[in-house]
């Protein structure tokens, strides 16, 4: 495995990918095809956003790609490792050693300090990690003066920054972020997104982020659009406006739910504060 440190570098090949991914929940009348034959690769050293209306399967795609959930058929890979072939223990160790996570909320253990939360995956593995790298991450996320605080003593934005540091601490092949700014105000959200983007560009890491927010998606190098469990579009070098336009077309194509429409309107308002 090649680790780029400090400078941006482009690594050929995908950090994570899924092939013909199908995920079915329930059966018979209640059957829901959350993923219906998706094939997508997330290139190493890039920041990819997954977008789509509610129920489009974007979260399911992330969960399956990250080894948190299993596919009904098809295959998911981290690097060259096929996840479907792994048992729970190997899968757990793969998540611990090769994947980082940032969830929407409840990212941190309330009983551990900031520093302990950051090194948690390495501590679970019984590894020392790379102190210099961890140290530089702490500076990047700007939490040096909070290292010995408990999560309850931090703001929501600070908590998410700790989660970002934790996700990158073990230098994983790929970091999956699931609506990382969903619970934050726009300013804190911007900080977290900037952090993710900077880490990819300056430190050569790989990030896959699920979001429904066009502003968030605009931080990515590329956006993939999902609808009805299928990959419907890709967009290089996205901007918030273009993403919003593309999303509006989903709405135009037939609003799937009032919630999607509302959240898109909210996004539009946030983009143009009065």
């Amino acid at each position: 495995m090649t680790h780029a440190t400090g400078t941006a570098s482009v690594i050929t090949g995908a950090a994570a990918r899924v092939v013909d991914a199908v995920k079915v929940y329930g059966s018979g009348d209640t059957e829901v095809r959350a993923l219906d034959g998706v094939g997508v690769a997330f290139p190493a050293g890039r920041f990819t956003a997954i977008m789509g209306p509610s129920g489009s399967g974007k979260s399911t795609l992330m969960h399956c790609a990250a080894g948190l959930d299993t596919l009904t058929s098809g295959a998911a890979f981290i690097g060259d490792t096929e996840l479907g072939a792994l048992g729970d223990k190997r899968l757990t160790m793969l998540r611990r050693d090769r994947i980082g996570f940032v969830f929407q909320a409840f990212n941190l253990l309330p009983t551990l300090t900031v520093a302990e939360n950051i090194t948690l995956p390495m501590d679970l593995a019984g590894r020392r990690g790379d102190p210099a790298w961890t140290d530089s991450l702490i500076d990047v996320v700007g939490l040096r003066d909070r290292l010995h605080h408990r999560p309850a003593e931090l703001s929501g934005g600070q908590q998410q920054r700790v989660a970002v540091a934790r996700a990158f601490a073990g230098r994983p092949d790929v970091v999956f972020a699931d609506e990382p700014t969903g619970n934050l105000d726009s300013r804190s959200g911007a900080e977290v997104l900037g952090l993710l983007a900077d880490t990819v560009r300056e430190l050569g890491r790989t990030v896959v982020m699920v979001t429904h927010d066009p502003v968030a998606a605009a931080y990515a190098d590329e956006v993939v659009f999902l609808a009805d469990g299928r990959l419907v579009d890709r967009m290089e070098a996205p901007t918030a406006d273009r993403v919003l336009d593309r999303m509006q077309r989903f709405v135009g194509e037939g609003p799937r739910s009032p919630r999607t429409a509302r959240s898109l309107n909210d996004t539009a308002e946030r983009k143009n504060p009065s």
């Binding site: 948190l68 409840f106 593995a125 019984g126």
Partner: protein, 866 residues
């Protein structure tokens, strides 16, 4: 009204949804109630069975003529009365209104089996007596064979026959205590049962009984009288009384039966039942903490629900009512199940007792209203009381709490708590220590003060628990360096109150176990030391009985042993009894108040016993002198030359001059008399110990073998070396401890259920965290280890607390019960290590199910939990 119904509906819904959460509470209440109910039912059943048995056995006796004064020494259940002349029976027999009168002669009679080993004993009396010809007057009936007719014939009760493998036609020995060869001609039953309790009874002819069981022929223990037709028991007593000599009384048969019943019920059964109830109490106390914890956690987990209810208009009362209603439903259902379990326990014991050799008289289970109502009420009250504080806390939920994040509960280590606990512990420990070791020279230790102090100390431990848990978990968890251990430590530190309450349940169980362990070990050491310090001989000939007492030994053993060439000294020590007058008239009326006397050759005592410092002289006590222990002398204010007034069982009052005061009463007893002085008042000639010292150069093995050769001729009493003597003196302690441990296993089990329940609830509470941990790479094995370590930490905290408290209270009890001030306090390291190990292992076991449940968690589901 409708509000109440709403709370009830909510609690039923809550119970249905969260059945598992209440499983721990349910079982804690169930076990406690079952134990309590089982004890009460069994006590009642035993009592009624024994009552019925005595009624059947002694129902034919209308009056008993006996000595009117009974002298009881402390710790003795059967008192001693003066004997009655047997010729009185003939006089009474001729009186009008009397159908029959026969003397009853009874004395110690240890039956030996074919191999020469004693049958029965070890607590229950082993008796011999005359076979009373009149069927109605004899409490034993012939079941097989016939009554003894010629000298050397005997009837033994069926229980003894079974235990000793004896049958009609067999020849064996009875120690009366002189060995007496007998041929068994009949098997008897007592009131239809194999035995009276576990007593063995060997019946001889009247002539044999008079010859061997009393000091001189012509004396009987009592005279049993049967009334003529139409004569009531009261009328019979009225007729008899004027004809009796001074010091002899007549009482109705009814009265004697009741005395017997009281003796069994009042002394044996009450003690037995009280002991069991004590353990049931400990179990209930432990259950209290488990129940409190369950409700506290359930209420905490339900904060949002309760807040929402408050927000939409539920009153405080309704919220409190909802929680209490849940507790009530659990309590009632669990208590009912517990009652059923209790009946099962009683029935099971009734079946089990005979199997282990304890005859449980036949009879149906006696289930009184009280033995149902009391456990039920206790179960319900304990459950409701434990749920009260959490319920009130639930009622205080602010409506806004629905909108707030539930924070980690860090309370419990407040300064007020630390201060209150500190004061309590100072007061409790102070009181305990003061009770155990009072200042001043003359002050005796007080068990009452010590127990009061112990209760306050226990309360202090409970109050201080949350404060201590934080430190304890940090210290105990310090060796845990790996991530699972560290996480476990943090989890245990999360809610000090919860950790403390969980651990307290175990702490109480462990504390009581440790207390008994320390107390028992100290008792054993004390006995051991007593023997090794006071016994200056090489071997002891004795009949070991339960506790430190000894059975009767033939008085011919000592002279026979003394003749051996290997033996330098052999001294027999017998026992007597007398009432000692304090100088006042306090003892003139009541019964009891007796003191045990040591009857021996005082001049030679120093050869085989170490008496410590002796003031005055042990020589030439004659028939008017007595030697007294220092502590008795202090109590009565005697010095050498003082006068001690004795009243013997024959009613004789005699002043004795205190001729010597000695230091060590361990084996010598408090009063030493010459055989000549005791002679006129004796009931039976017997020794309880023959102390033997060998000549120089005789090895222990050779000497012992020689003494054993002699002992064999006298009914084969045991010959013990110093070590064996010490060990057998303390053998009863081990038996008691085993019983106590068995009883306490229940309390520990309930504590474990509590730990398991708390963990299950905690796992449920932390679903999201566990999901996160699994997502970022905690393996299932690591997660299980984390839960297990938390459990072990909590258990270790409880165990260490319990050991500390138990050792302290064990020390206090040892001191408090030791009025002579020379008892030994021992902390048995091996036993206590085992207790610690069991406590901690139990913690690991308690985590078994919760950890597996936690490990089975679906990662995605856990993360997605809203």
């Amino acid at each position: 009204m409708s509000g109440t119904r709403a709370s009830l509906r909510l609690s039923m819904a809550g119970l249905r949804t969260h059945k598992r959460r209440f499983a721990g509470t349910f079982f804690a209440v169930l076990l406690g109630v079952a134990f309590l109910g089982g004890t009460l039912v069994m006590g009642d059943t035993l009592r009624s069975s024994f009552d019925a048995m005595f009624g059947r056995a002694t129902g034919g006796t209308d009056a008993v003529v006996r000595g009117d004064d009974m002298i009881t020494t402390p710790g003795e259940s059967f008192g001693t009365r003066r004997s009655v002349p047997t010729r009185l029976a003939d006089e009474i027999d001729r009186m009008p209104g009397v159908a029959a009168a026969e003397p009853r002669i009874e004395g110690p009679g240890q039956l030996l089996d074919e191999d020469g080993e004693p049958v029965g004993g070890g607590g229950p009396p082993t008796l011999a007596g005359n076979w009373i010809a009149d069927k109605d007057l004899n409490s034993y009936q012939i079941a097989e064979g016939r009554a003894p007719e010629r000298s050397g014939e005997a009837v033994v009760n069926r229980g003894a026959a079974k235990a000793g493998g004896l049958d009609i036609g067999d020849t064996t020995t009875v120690r009366t205590p002189d060995p007496l060869k007998v041929t068994i001609v009949g098997i008897s039953t007592f009131g239809g049962e194999d035995a009276m309790g576990q007593t063995t009874f060997t019946a001889l002819t009247r002539a044999d009984a008079e010859k061997h069981l009393t000091a001189e022929p012509g004396r009987a223990t009592s005279i049993q009288v049967r009334a003529g037709p139409g004569e009531s028991q009261e009328e019979l007593v009225k007729t008899l009384t004027p004809a009796l000599p001074e010091g002899i009384e007549a009482v109705t048969g009814q009265e004697v039966t009741e005395e017997n019943q009281d003796q069994i019920a009042g002394q044996f059964l009450s003690g037995f039942t009280a002991g069991l109830l004590g353990f049931a109490g400990v179990a209930m106390l432990v259950a209290t903490f488990s129940i409190y914890n369950t409700f506290a956690i359930v209420v905490a987990q339900r904060t949002r629900d309760n807040a929402l209810l408050r927000a939409i208009g539920a009153t405080r009362r309704q919220i409190v009512g909802q929680t209490l209603a849940e507790a009530l439903v659990v309590a009632v259902v669990a208590s009912l199940a517990g009652l059923a379990g209790g009946l099962g326990i009683a029935a099971g014991l009734q079946a089990l007792f005979p199997a282990v050799g304890f005859p449980f008289p036949d009879g149906d289970l006696v289930v009184s209203g009280l033995s149902l109502a009391l456990p039920f009420a206790t179960g319900v009250l304990v459950c409701l009381a434990s749920a009260l504080a959490p319920a009130i806390r639930a009622g205080r939920t602010a409506p806004l709490a629905a909108l707030r994040e539930t924070a980690v509960d860090g309370s419990g280590s407040s300064r007020v708590r630390a201060l209150t606990g500190g004061l309590l512990i100072a007061a409790g420990a102070g009181l305990t220590v003061y009770g155990a070791v009072p200042g001043g020279d003359s002050a005796d230790p007080s068990v009452t003060l010590t127990v009061a102090g112990a209760v306050v100390t226990l309360a202090a431990f409970v109050v201080l628990g949350p404060v201590a848990s934080a430190y304890a978990v940090r210290i105990l968890g310090a060796p845990l360096r790996r991530m699972n251990g560290r996480l476990a430590r943090r989890n245990a530190l999360r809610s000090p109150k919860r950790t403390a309450a969980t651990a307290t349940a175990l702490m109480i169980g462990v504390a009581v176990v440790s207390l008994f362990t320390v107390f028992g070990a100290s008792l054993k050491s004390t006995m051991d030391q007593t023997v090794s310090r006071a016994f200056a001989g090489d071997v002891a000939v004795r009949v070991p009985a339960f506790g430190p007492e000894s059975g009767a030994l033939s008085p011919k053993v000592a002279p026979a042993v003394a003749k051996l060439p290997e033996v330098e000294h052999a001294l027999g020590l017998g026992t007597g009894v007398a009432r000692v007058d304090d100088g006042g008239t306090a003892h003139a009326e009541g019964n009891g108040g007796g003191r045990a006397l040591t009857v021996t050759d005082p001049e030679r005592m120093g050869d085989v016993l170490d008496l410590g410092a002796v003031e005055g002289s042990l020589t030439g006590l004659g028939t008017t002198g007595v030697a007294v222990s220092q502590s008795e002398a202090d109590d009565h204010g005697w010095q050498v030359g003082s006068t001690a007034r004795f009243t013997f069982t024959d009613g004789e009052k005699q002043p004795f001059t205190v001729r010597a005061v000695y230091d060590r009463a361990d084996l010598a007893g408090d009063y030493v008399l010459t055989r000549e002085a005791w002679q006129p008042h004796r009931m039976q000639d017997s020794d309880s110990l023959v102390a033997v010292a060998f000549r120089d150069g005789v090895s222990e093995a050779d000497g012992k073998a020689a003494v054993e050769g002699v002992a064999e001729r006298y009914g084969n009493p045991e010959v013990q070396t110093r070590d064996e003597f010490a060990e057998s003196s303390a053998a009863g302690v081990d038996m008691m401890l085993t019983l106590v441990y068995a009883m306490l296993a229940l309390a520990v089990l309930i504590a474990l259920l509590g730990i398991a329940n708390t963990l299950t609830l905690a796992v449920h509470e932390r679903t999201r965290e566990l999901g996160l941990l699994r997502a970022v790479g905690q393996t299932r094995a690591q997660l299980r280890a984390m839960v297990r370590w938390e459990s072990v930490l909590v258990a270790a905290f409880g165990t260490v607390g319990g050991l500390t408290l138990g050792a302290f209270l064990g020390w206090a009890m040892t001191r408090a019960t030791d009025s002579s001030g020379d008892g030994v306090f021992t902390v048995p390291p091996v036993q206590l290590s085992i207790v610690a190990l069991v406590g901690i292992t139990a913690g690991a076991l308690a985590a078994w199910r919760p950890s597996r449940r936690a490990a089975r968690l679906d990662v995605l589901g856990a993360i997605a939990t809203e």
